[in-house]
Symmetry: C2
Amino acid sequence: MLINDRYIKAALSQPVDKTPVWMMRQAGRYLPEYREIRAKAGNFMALCTNPELACEVTLQPLRRYELDAAILFSDILTIPDAMGLELYFKAGEGPAFKKPVKTEADIKKLFVPDVFDKLKYVTDAVSLIRKELKGQVPLIGFSGSPWTLATYMVEGGTTKNFGIVKGMLFDQPQLMHQILSVLAQSVTEYLNAQIESGAQAVMIFDTWGGVLSTDNYQEFSLAYMQRIIDGLKRNHEGHQIPVTIFTKGGAGWLEKMAETGADCVGLDWTIDIDQAKARIGNKVALQGNMDPCVLYSNPQRIEREVASILDKFGRGNGHIFNLGHGIHPTIDPENVKAYVNAVHRFSEQYHN
Amino acid sequence: MLINDRYIKAALSQPVDKTPVWMMRQAGRYLPEYREIRAKAGNFMALCTNPELACEVTLQPLRRYELDAAILFSDILTIPDAMGLELYFKAGEGPAFKKPVKTEADIKKLFVPDVFDKLKYVTDAVSLIRKELKGQVPLIGFSGSPWTLATYMVEGGTTKNFGIVKGMLFDQPQLMHQILSVLAQSVTEYLNAQIESGAQAVMIFDTWGGVLSTDNYQEFSLAYMQRIIDGLKRNHEGHQIPVTIFTKGGAGWLEKMAETGADCVGLDWTIDIDQAKARIGNKVALQGNMDPCVLYSNPQRIEREVASILDKFGRGNGHIFNLGHGIHPTIDPENVKAYVNAVHRFSEQYHN
């Protein structure tokens, strides 16, 4: 059914001919054709909520590069928006909510949104992208982790020191658990809806788990990702649906992440992939882990970095090449070509 | 000579009666008396460059709390300012430079500033504070690490994704090494001048080392901290001068930090102190590691956290209690009292 199933096989730690490669935020501002569509849509959320445009930008990077997966174009904050928090984007300042969650009364009002109603624009986009992909590569669905979503909901937007949300965590942990419970249930239903609509793999982005202590990471972030993983449809229409979890700054907790039952664990660039493989490579596949800033350099330097990461991983199954975080908006698209091609060219020697 | 030398002894892994405690940024905006002086000075740099006022705010927290050390009130960006980059503070946006380092020509112009000329306001403040402390507790001098200073110098101020400075690192590493070499020499002279002026311990803050990969951390941050440590006066007037290095986000590299010859390694809150002790406790003292956001909660919760960290460290020498990062400006000063007192009250059982 899939013409290129390297990504799925690698995520399930099965043999492949070459290491699959994709990029977080691969449909994004570094591409002039993306900026054109984004300008046409008027604003970011108009792009996210229009399935045809979301489909178009999802497919754009695949036309330029030999990527081994597509990822749904969307925002991580669709769920809190569907809960009525009213997401908007301040120019140059990132996402914010008109109705942040500040009080116990605000928390009591939270609910699990009906995915096929309030988030129908997402499942419609998934169905359309899946159809338009024509089996070329798999489509990855995704969500933010409950903790990551909660940081934006409680802070009201982006934050530098997480004082408000961690203040609540330490001072009123029971309130934080209430928020996270609703979010875990919501994310589970959201990802299952994406799977039912055609997503062939899913990924949970825990962008801000790394700002917690070890104990708090387990109690307030990992435990809720565990609930989601336990509730996901891991098979759909006879196909296994690989699940990846990624905590930025989570290098200290890889063993715990691998114990969740996820098929694949994402790595940022602050840990060497050979060490990560030695620690958890027998349990899960690994995704990562090039510093996105390497793409600011030049093709030779990029190739050297790709070769180094492939060499550190060495032979064996279960490596999906990726950046350790999303690609930055000011990267030269030509450098991305060098990156993608280098992964395929240099990785053959480590397979079969 | 020192009435309370717990901090010095603990930093040198010698026995103490109680675990010493202080806080990064303890002279800061959470104190109303600080805000008063700051308002009087007009702006932040006016405060830093006035030895009398810098002395006054350094001493303020010691009047409220039984802290075991004073730390020089200053900014980490005094060195690049002395190099002519013209530091200023944008309201609500943090520090910035009028003349950032963008080109090879800019780098060629960098020089090691004459500490006793351009930075005399710092050494004057050190002498004055030391005198005013009257041997009550030791005075800690400090500097930013070369890599951390370079991030601000090249980006022109604070940054979210370090694209410009890491772009230079990957694309033109030889230029980055030139910047770091000048900075390492400057920091060495700066810290030695602080020691000669009366600082009884020094600390190097590597706030941004944690945004690097393992290899790059060693090459672009740790190697230059090593140069500094190798060049520091470790004895002054018959007293040993303990050196602490702290890389925020550096939990993965503790062994390497301990090998530098530093007496003490600072920990943020993302690693359990028992694990850090097991890894490097035989080589160095440890400083840390409470999440600063715990101080947003309440005295009971704060006491529980202090007790937990003390319990994890357990018996043995070489623990200086601290936050894992600077105290936030909106913390209630009463909660700080609970923190300081709890460390002294609960730690006695682990000593003698």
